[in-house]
């Protein structure tokens, strides 16, 4: 596979380390009343769709960026690649 890195352009997937569902970005607030339930769901419950999936890839053999890759799990087509940092900052701005 080739991942089109937003800063470095197309790179071979071998340079990356895979983590999983991009929802791991949305770490719950520990002060919430049901924090234990939220953390349990955050850590253990993952979607595993056949089709487009937002997932985290780490460019370990490269610039060490964490990326959110939107990949079709059945065809390996990659629709979008974002820097996790940019996505997170954008999200907190819109809050």
């Amino acid at each position: 596979m080739i991942i089109d890195h937003p800063l470095l352009g197309p790179r071979d997937a071998n340079e990356f380390v895979y983590l999983g569902d991009a929802n791991l970005i949305n770490r719950p607030d520990w002060t919430e009343k049901d924090a234990d339930k939220q953390f349990y769901e955050y850590l253990y419950l993952r979607d595993n769709p056949s089709g487009y999936h937002r997932e985290l890839w780490y460019h370990e053999q490269g610039d060490r960026s964490w990326l959110i890759v939107t990949r079709n799990t059945s065809t390996h087509e990659i629709k979008q690649v974002e820097l996790a940092k940019d996505y997170h900052l954008e999200k907190s701005k819109s809050k």
Binding site: R27, D36, L56, Y58, E60, W66, H76, I78, A84, S92
Partner: protein, 997 residues
């Protein structure tokens, strides 16, 4: 008596030609250099440009092997990668290479080959008796026959079956040849240099785009070299030669001969195997094969088509060959495999073999066409239409065929044409499913990868004119997509030959065994049995009957097999479907996948800065991950490792020792929010750590399990240096980057790994300060007041070499770790040894390090197993309640906090002379040693030279409340039960007075 010997230079060409019984007297090849080779010990001659198969056939060596299961005599069947029969072992000793296809091996001078799978001579195989047992050896026989008694399978049945049925053997020695890997990028990859591939390459090459043309053959042109066709009024082989010459002039085209594209992967990536050199003694220094990874923007698949057979009685005898292959042997290699040929066909293409045989004056005894009506007629020979072959005879070579009419026709060669299958394989590697075409009676590509285009016969365009046009057109489409203007060039022109065919798969009236898959000895009856036993899907049929498995992957048999299955089930072929084609298209040696990553080069080796020093002292090294670390430093009079290790510990504890600890991960952390960042990743607080201080930190995973531990020093307000364990250095850095970028990107913090930048040496023992004072530049005060326990300082040593000094201790002694830029590491180690002579300093290795940390009760890799919590380690008090940190919420889960949870404790044998065993489990006194009574386990043991007995660390339920209790440490594997006392894990200096001295 003197033997008459001819002079070597008197061996004329005609002599070689006369040797080669089946070589025709015309053709290019007979003017080539003569090459001699050996087959089963017999010395034979061929010509440069031959394959092993064509040279064998030229020498009338039709019988080349024995079949997989029944040991039936088998001959060369085809002329390419589809070959099911002619598998031979090349070379000998460590150069032996089994299961190579004689049809794809380029002949070279001195080649030696052996046939496979027979005991005794090839012509009389003792194992041929298995053929008489065939009623018992049908599909799935081993699933049925060898089931009882169960224990016999592994010891008796399996070894017998494995030695009776099989292919060639490896030498059992390391392969002396070298292999390499390479990476290529191109705009257009053209796969296959047959008519459509060459037409595509000519057009693509003119565009100036970067083009790769790959073909597995050593002669480019594909079927153009096998046929007597005309293109632009030139003979087809001549045209191919000229086209290749023209393409070679194009600097933007890379031609890769002998390169098999074996896999099509995601996003235009292809795998290719290039054969650089033959497997031969004198050139094994250069890579013999190169595994290419080719990145393409677009690709054109012009891989041609493969002829299939027809199933009829005893259709596996030597001398029975594919009709198209016979044409290739005649036209390309001037070889005719027989003197008296019968042709059996279900389509027009078979008739072309008739015409090529005739034009070379080879006798054709009969043409048998299963069709009632054909457009072909021949008055010079008997033609049987609407007829088929039901049986053949001839043990080691076909001698006659029996027709459905009962008539028997003698022959020494039978050409069979069952139609052509487009080579769709590479269109399917990403789950593309080919579709059935009724007119062609073949599967055609469908759902092909986005950047791939299919040309020529692969796309079902079996006629030459059409194939050339399509190659040209597909190249044009791609160059336009890549922004090149429409070129005015036109496709090479050729006539379209007739390719009418019919769906005729097997001769149902045959009473004899009709072979479908020659490589796996699968017959039509086996397919029937599989079907009757419920294996009705093609995928099940394949696994149960082994149809389409092994080195040829059923290239000549798959469609035949599933057509028969379709007939049995009353379904159509498209309803039946094909099995999934997966990479590799052709076999790839494991050696090529390994490339240069063999033995020590499997992964990089990391050396510590003091490696040379340790090597000169004859240190024993241990691999820890990629690192080579000194394990202990034996002295001349020491014969047992314990002597060295005990001495190193005692010398360190009584005076001073030094140890290279560079392998621990170092992460440089800077930025205004560094302290807050550390607060979030460690369970304990770092916000109030003063500048110039170090703190031990414990890191959890989000699930509350310990991830890693280490010390972090605050060098400045916004500058920290974290250390990690050696094993987790990479994982922790990855985790911190995740936290920084994905969880808290608004923090101002920056990370960089500095493990390789700083050499770090532990200096431990009561004289460590005195030793350091000798090398630290005078203006730095090392007194206990100026640099107390857990202090750190940026200093200079040995006349202005920048250095970092940390007063931390893993051994429990007064100790420091000193860091200098890596290039000074070895020298610093030497200087410390020289300066320490007066203190009797010792270097110590990882064993002594381990002994001292067990004595001190520090957890290490044996304790941080990914299953233990901070509570288990007895570090609950470190867990802050004031702040959030990774693992904070889930570490509070009830199950992790039960009163009877396991706690890290120390263990002493009651009988001090007994050695403790790591891995033993704790059982309360008097209870049975069983899982229900298991209370924990011993994780680390060491012999303490200070205490003079064995000590251990381990986890035991409710341990902190059980100090003084005697339990049994049970090791059922080594059958030992040892009574041990539960003690504090801190065996040495529990109050930490030494540390603070």
């Amino acid at each position: 008596m003197n033997e008459l010997k001819p002079l070597a230079n008197q061996e004329s060409k005609s002599r070689f030609l006369n040797d080669q019984k089946n070589r025709l007297k015309t053709g290019q090849i007979i003017n080539n250099k003569t090459m001699s080779f050996k087959f089963n010990g017999a010395k034979l001659n061929g010509f440069e440009g031959d394959t092993l198969a064509s040279a064998l056939l030229a020498n009338d060596q039709v019988l080349v092997g024995r079949s997989f299961k029944y040991h039936r005599p088998r001959g060369i069947f085809s002329s390419g990668t589809e070959e099911p029969n002619a598998l031979v072992s090349l070379g000998s000793d460590e150069f032996q290479e089994p299961n190579t296809k004689a049809t794809t091996i380029k002949l070279f001078d001195g080649l030696t080959a052996k046939s496979q799978n027979h005991r005794g001579p090839l012509a009389f195989d003792f194992m041929a008796a298995t053929d008489f047992l065939h009623p018992f050896l049908s599909a799935g026989f081993y699933y049925k026959t060898f089931m009882w008694p169960k224990s016999f399978w592994e010891k008796l049945y399996e070894p017998i079956i494995r030695s009776a049925a099989g292919l060639g053997a490896l030498s059992g020695k390391p392969d002396p040849s070298s292999y390499d890997k390479g990476f290529l990028h191109c705009d257009i990859l053209i796969i296959g240099a047959g008519p459509s591939g060459l037409a595509a390459a000519l057009e693509a090459g003119r565009s100036k785009l970067k083009v790769i043309l790959a073909d597995d053959d050593f002669l480019l042109g594909g079927r153009l070299n096998s046929e007597k066709f005309f293109i632009n009024n030139q003979s087809s082989d001549e045209w191919a030669k000229n086209a290749v010459a023209e393409i070679m002039q194009m600097s933007n085209v890379r031609i890769m001969q002998r390169t098999s594209i074996y896999g099509s992967f995601d996003h235009g990536i292809f795998g290719g195997l290039e054969i650089k050199y033959d497997h031969f003694k004198h050139n094994h220094k250069k890579p013999r094969q190169v595994l290419w990874k080719i990145y393409s923007k677009f690709s054109i698949l012009s891989s041609g088509a493969t002829e299939r057979s027809i199933a009829f009685g005893n259709n596996d005898r030597p001398g029975i060959m594919l009709a198209g292959s016979i044409r290739e042997y005649i036209n390309r290699w001037s070889v005719c495999p027989g003197k008296n040929v019968v042709v059996f066909t279900n389509n027009d293409d078979g008739w072309r073999t008739v015409s090529d045989l005739k034009s070379n004056n080879i006798k054709v005894s009969a043409v048998i066409d299963v069709r009632k009506e054909t457009t072909f007629h021949d008055k010079e020979m008997p033609v049987y239409t609407g007829t088929s072959i039901v049986d053949t005879s001839g043990r080691l070579r076909i001698s006659s065929v029996t027709l459905s009419t009962g008539e028997k026709i003698p022959c020494d060669c039978l050409a069979v044409s069952g139609g052509w299958n487009p080579n769709v394989h590479l269109t399917c590697h990403q789950r593309g499913k080919p579709v059935w075409n009724d007119a062609l009676n073949a599967f055609l590509p469908n759902n092909i990868p986005k950047t791939m285009k299919v040309a020529g016969a692969t796309d079902g365009l079996l006629q030459l004119g059409e194939a050339l046009k399509s190659g040209h057109l597909k190249a044009k489409e791609i160059t336009e997509l890549l922004g090149k203007k429409d070129s005015k060039s036109s496709a090479p022109s050729a006539d379209n030959e007739s390719v009418k065919n019919t769906s005729f798969w097997h001769v149902s009236e045959s009473k004899k065994r009709c072979w479908v898959d020659l490589q796996n000895d699968v017959t039509t009856k086996d397919i029937k049995i599989s079907f009757m036993e419920g294996f009705k899907s093609v995928e099940h049929l394949k696994r149960y009957s082994t149809l389409g498995m092994a080195t040829d992957q059923g290239k000549t048999s798959n469609i035949l097999g599933l057509a028969i299955l379709a007939e049995l089930s009353g379904k159509t072929i498209p309803e039946t479907g094909t099995t999934i084609f997966r990479p590799p298209y052709t076999p790839v040696p494991i050696g090529a996948f390994a490339g240069r990553s063999r033995g020590k080069d499997f992964r990089p080796t990391r050396l510590t800065p003091s490696h040379n020093f340790a090597k000169n002292l004859s240190a024993v090294f241990v691999e820890t991950g990629m690192w080579m670390r000194a394990q202990w430093y034996p002295k001349e009079n020491e014969s047992h490792w314990r002597q060295s290790v005990d001495r190193e510990v005692l010398q360190t504890r009584s005076s001073v020792g030094i140890c290279d600890v560079t392998t621990l991960g170092k992460i440089d952390i800077q930025g205004a929010d560094s302290a807050e960042f550390l607060n979030k990743v460690y369970v304990n607080g770092f916000g109030r750590l003063p500048v110039g201080k170090v703190r031990y930190g414990l890191m959890l995973r989000e699930d509350g399990i310990v991830m890693d531990d280490g010390t972090t020093a605050r060098l400045d307000l916004n500058h920290f240096v974290m250390t990690t364990t050696t094993a987790n250095a990479v994982g922790v850095f990855r985790h911190l980057e995740f936290c920084r970028q994905c969880l808290w990107p608004d923090l101002d913090v920056h990370l960089i790994s500095s493990t390789e930048q700083w050499a770090q040496i532990a200096v431990a023992g009561p004289n460590s300060r005195k030793l350091l004072e000798k090398i630290v530049d005078k203006d730095h005060d090392l007194s206990n007041e100026a640099l107390p326990y857990m202090g750190c300082k940026e200093i200079t040593v040995c006349n202005k070499i920048p250095s970092r000094l940390f007063r931390i201790s893993f051994s429990g002694e007064l100790a420091y770790e000193i860091a200098v830029p890596t290039r000074y590491g070895n020298s610093l180690f030497e200087i410390l040894m020289q300066a320490g002579e007066e203190f009797n300093v010792t270097p110590y290795g990882t064993e002594a390090l381990g002994v001292m940390r067990v004595e001190k009760g520090h957890a290490a890799g044996n304790e941080l197993t990914g299953q233990t919590t901070a509570q288990n380690l007895g570090l609950e008090k470190m867990m802050s309640k004031q702040k959030d940190y990774i693992g904070n919420v889930l570490s509070k889960r009830v199950e992790l906090n039960r009163d009877n949870k396991i706690i890290l404790m120390g263990f002493k044998p009651v009988d001090k002379s007994i050695e403790l065993l790591a891995g033993s489990h704790f059982i309360s006194k008097g209870k049975t040693a069983c899982t229900d009574n298991d209370e924990g386990w011993m994780s680390s043991v060491a012999f303490s030279p200070i205490l003079n007995h064995s000590i251990g660390l381990g986890f035991i339920r409710n341990g902190s409340n059980r100090i003084g209790e005697i339990v049994t440490a049970v090791d059922l594997l080594r059958n030992k039960q040892i009574d041990v006392e539960i003690v504090s894990p801190h065996f040495v200096d529990p109050e930490g007075e030494k540390l603070r001295a």
